[in-house]
């Protein structure tokens, strides 16, 4: 990394807004070492960075034991195989570290979950540079593993059950993405069970033992139908026991290593003491509930790593300031065991431990999540179960630590509510002003109501909500916590309007996809077009949801989560896999990628074809088929038609009408728990991934162009009436009843928002945002000049972070097309 200009002090750097150099100057030596020690796992424009290698220890160990226990039932078989991994995988402790745990055998490795999907496994052959040395030998090992798993991964098993037509259309990659299995995706953690109720794994083992004894007594008692399910559940409880005991042994391996280093190798007395403390920490957690902040962070990190050793989790639902606060408060404020600076070091390292995590993902996922390996959006702020303000000193410490370590993962989503203090809001703003792109701001009162409206979560439970990935809230409670992200219910919504204008035929993948809704050239009224659009919208939602529902329903049999189950109160009680829909209230949503193009396209057609009659439907369809080639003036007319984000009722009314149709259908389709599937418009970097998959559109876009940056954000450069007009358009949406959540990207000027005046301007903007009832907004506050400089001289700007969509990434790690797309976003003067 290039060095900062040596003679510049912090004040000079602040004036130049080079926040990354300021962070380096301000953070402790330990944090500086640990931050620079991280091997970046996020793919750069789809490719892994030099030096990153796929980890072969885990798949090899897992497969050995999975094959050995071939006659065991699914959860028990998996538990034994994973326990074998925990007992034998190489572990490591980085110099200066106070927290440990990684899901690969070495710091530069990425996890490969071999039992998820054959189509992902086969991609490994095509990835240059990530096969460890000796390459030829390891390619052979990979081929052996792939041969074993071919046909028996979770996705292989689901695919055999799917309707063949659904399977082909889903696998075309045109209408959505994801995999209908808990092998990929992510899980909520039952923080109420583990942290609020203070249960360590030994406590859970005792609960399981009690259940087992009771069930075993009953199975040798009076015969009847009530005891029949117990036979299977006994096996599941056994599986939970196996994995929890292995997890305790795994932590003890770290304790042993820390003691070995301290007693045999380490010469520095201070570090020796730290290593002994680390050993004591790993001897205590996860076996027992934590006693202090270090143990609390370590317990949480072990839980997250153990869940990731079991499945490829692409998100990290967490609420650290809420669940770790009692320990921070005890150590820093009551017992004064830690100084605030020491606590800040631990907080910073807690962020770094998450930042270094990464797994091998398929190319579509890497392109869709450029620069990162998943969306670790941690939730801060919000209210307690009684509705009082939950913000505390740890909220502030996390926001301050984020500015010191400047990681692009995890990022934060801040639950704003009217009782948040000015001091906390200033810390939130400082993170945004420092160009981190986070926290995103979430409207807590709106989202609590929304959780009750869509999924019937009781008020107290709704108030525990955490971000599942970028956006969607879910409670952390026994019946609320969500074990499996419905990843494939992620819709490429631009296809709705594309198919309405092509009679359901996809001219990019060249097959009949959606229903035949009529020859668009013959549509005589806007209503005919809109009816076709509704049919295509329903078809896309139905196809994706059917696939996911089946994947969820069969997941305990096809994949299964022994560790996750052992950490869920409802599973420990019932003996059912955590992924079983039984006992969960249901919290599904359909992620709506590339959504706003629908409203802009429909409005343009209505205006230019049916109202002004400047063009005919036949002319429009013809221009679409030619990707607008030779029709540039016509294309510009369609670009200049009314566009979302300008407080123009002509197009805004169409947006609302579309959303109401979606909301109606969201209540008609049900998840395996019997609950609703509301829409959630957001994009990650799917707008770039889908740029070569979505055909030309009547908003003026050609095949190949980036789509809008997502959610309900206006098209880049198309919001010409200023920030208030954007907010007013977005405020016309009912953020409770029209969908689960709505992402809004905004770019603000770092120059305008400098100093106290800048903070007051931003705070006034947030008040307007809240008054209009929006549920989300996030900001980029890096100037065009800095971004252009970073394009020209990337080496010098390695640490510049930008908000892409629901996540942040280092600017130099995203593709040129994505960089350009961010620069094109309008900088709003407020």
């Amino acid at each position: 990394m290039a060095e900062p200009v040596k003679d510049l002090n912090v004040d000079d750097l602040e004036k130049k807004q080079e926040w990354w150099w300021i962070a380096e100057k301000k953070r402790s030596k330990r944090l500086d070492y640990l931050r620079k020690a991280v091997w970046k796992k996020g793919a750069v424009g789809g490719n892994y960075a030099p030096g990153i290698k796929v980890d072969l220890e885990l798949p090899t160990l897992f497969t050995q034991m999975y094959n050995w226990w071939k006659f065991d039932p699914p959860m028990l078989r998996r538990a034994k195989a994973n326990a074998h991994v925990l007992d034998n995988i190489t572990i490591f402790i980085t110099d200066h570290a106070q927290l440990v745990g990684y899901m690969g055998s070495l710091p530069h490795t990425i996890l490969w979950r071999v039992d998820g999907a054959s189509i992902v496994n086969e991609e490994l052959y095509n990835e240059p540079g990530i096969i460890p040395e000796p390459v030829e030998e390891n390619l052979k090992k990979i081929a052996d593993l792939n041969s074993f798993w071919a046909g028996q991964t979770a996705v292989d098993k689901v695919a055999r059950l799917l309707d063949p037509e659904d399977a082909v259309k889903f696998l075309s990659g045109a209408i959505g993405w994801g995999a209908p299995t808990s092998a990929y995706g992510y899980s909520g953690k039952d923080y109420e069970f583990l942290f609020a109720k203070r249960n360590g794994f030994s406590d859970i083992l005792a609960m399981i033992e009690e259940r087992l004894e009771n069930a075993e007594d009953r199975t040798i008692g009076t015969p009847g139908p009530d005891i029949l399910p117990l036979y299977e559940r006994i096996q599941n409880w056994e599986a939970m026991k196996v994995i929890l005991e292995a997890a305790i042994r795994y932590a003890n391996r770290y304790a042993r290593l820390a003691r070995t280093i301290a007693e045999n190798y380490e010469t520095d007395p201070v570090r020796k003491e730290e290593l002994i403390r680390l050993a004591e920490t790993c001897e205590h957690v996860p076996a027992h509930a934590p006693r202090n902040l270090q143990e609390s962070f370590q317990y949480d990190h072990f839980v997250q790593m153990l869940a990731r050793l079991e499945a490829h989790e692409g998100a990290w639902p967490a609420r650290p300031d809420y669940y770790h606060w009692p320990y921070y408060n005890k150590d820093v404020n009551i017992d004064k065991r830690l100084t605030r600076g020491e606590a800040l070091d631990l907080v910073g390292e807690f962020l770094i431990r998450a930042y270094e995590v990464g797994g091998f993902g398929p190319r579509w996922a890497r392109e869709g999540l450029q620069g990162i390996t998943g969306t670790w959006v941690w939730t801060l702020g919000g209210v307690k179960k009684d509705g009082s303000d939950a913000c505390n000193d740890l909220t502030v410490a996390l926001l301050q630590a984020a500015r010191l370590v400047r990681v692009s993962n995890p990022t934060f989503g801040f639950r704003w509510h009217p009782k948040v203090s000015d001091a906390v809001m200033r810390e939130v703003f400082e993170c945004i002003r420092h160009g981190l792109g986070y926290p995103s701001i979430r409207n807590d009162p709106v989202l609590v109501k929304n959780a009750m409206h869509w999924h019937g979560h009781p008020l107290e439970e709704a108030r525990t909500w955490v971000h599942q990935a970028c956006m969607s809230p879910c409670p952390t409670t026994k019946s609320g916590v969500q074990p499996m992200r419905m990843a494939s219910a992620t819709a490429n919504c631009a296809k709705m309007i594309e198919y309405a204008l092509s009679n359901g035929y996809d001219h990019v993948v060249q097959m009949q996809m959606g229903p035949k809704t009529g020859d668009p050239a013959k549509f005589a009224t806007f209503e005919e077009l809109f009816t076709a659009w509704v049919a295509q919208m329903e078809w896309i939602m139905n196809t994706l949801v059917r696939t996911v529902n089946l994947g969820r329903y069969k997941d305990p049999e096809f994949y299964g989560r022994p560790f996750l189950s052992a950490t869920y109160e409802r599973s420990v009680e019932s003996g059912l896999d955590a992924v079983s829909p039984v006992g969960e209230r249901g919290n599904c949503w359909v992620t709506f990628f590339t959504w706003v193009e629908n409203a802009d396209s429909l409005a343009a057609v209505k205006k230019l074809v049916f109202d002004d009659k400047k063009y005919t439907m036949a002319e429009l369809v013809s221009a679409m088929r030619k990707n607008w080639d030779g029709n540039e003036q016509m294309r510009l007319d369609f670009v200049n038609a009314p566009k979302w984000g300008n407080d123009d009722d002509y197009v805004d009314d169409i947006m609302i009408r579309c959303l109401r149709e979606v909301a109606r259908h969201s209540k008609e389709i049900k998840c395996p728990c019997g609950n609703n599937w509301p829409a959630l418009p957001e994009n990650v970097s799917g707008n770039i991934h889908y740029s070569s998959i979505v055909g030309s559109l009547p908003n003026g876009r050609r095949l190949g162009d980036a789509l809008y940056d997502g959610g309900i954000s206006p098209g880049p450069g198309l919001d010409k009436k200023g920030p208030t007009a954007v907010l007013k358009s977005c405020g016309k949406i009912d953020h409770v009843g029209d969908g689960r959540a709505f992402l809004l990207n905004q770019r603000l000027s770092p120059t305008q928002l400098a100093g106290e005046k800048g903070y007051q301007l931003w705070k006034a903007y947030i008040r307007t945002w809240a008054d209009l009832g929006l549920d989300h907004v996030q900001f980029n506050m890096v100037s065009d000049e800095t971004l252009r400089a970073a394009q020209k001289d990337p080496e010098k700007y390695q640490e510049v972070i930008v908000r892409v969509a629901g996540y942040s990434a280092h600017f130099v790690d995203i593709s040129r097309k994505t960089q350009d797309n961010i620069i094109q976003r309008t900088i709003q003067g407020i």
């Binding site: 030779g630 540039e632 050609r702 198309l718 252009r788 097309k817 350009d820 620069i823 094109q824």
Partner: protein, 74 residues
């Protein structure tokens, strides 16, 4: 249209369309089928404006050709 780099001449559509980062500008990025150069193309005039180098910018407001898309609102 004529390639500014190698002089290859063909209708605009023969130059492979890459992308247009800025939807409201009539400037696009296309690739010459003969010399593979990336070209900034005025779609209204049907003419290549300049080569866009790999280290330089493709587009609109981005690095290298800031201000080229003058017909777009800022």
């Amino acid at each position: 249209m004529k390639c500014t780099e190698c002089g290859f001449e063909a209708p605009v559509a023969k130059f492979r369309y890459l992308y247009n980062a800025r939807i409201d500008a009539s400037i696009t990025l296309r690739q010459c089928p003969q010399c593979q150069a990336w070209l900034a193309v005025d779609e209204l005039a049907g003419s290549a404006q300049q080569k866009v180098g790999p280290g330089e910018a493709p587009w609109g407001k981005s690095a290298g050709i800031e201000g080229l898309a003058k017909d777009a609102a800022s």
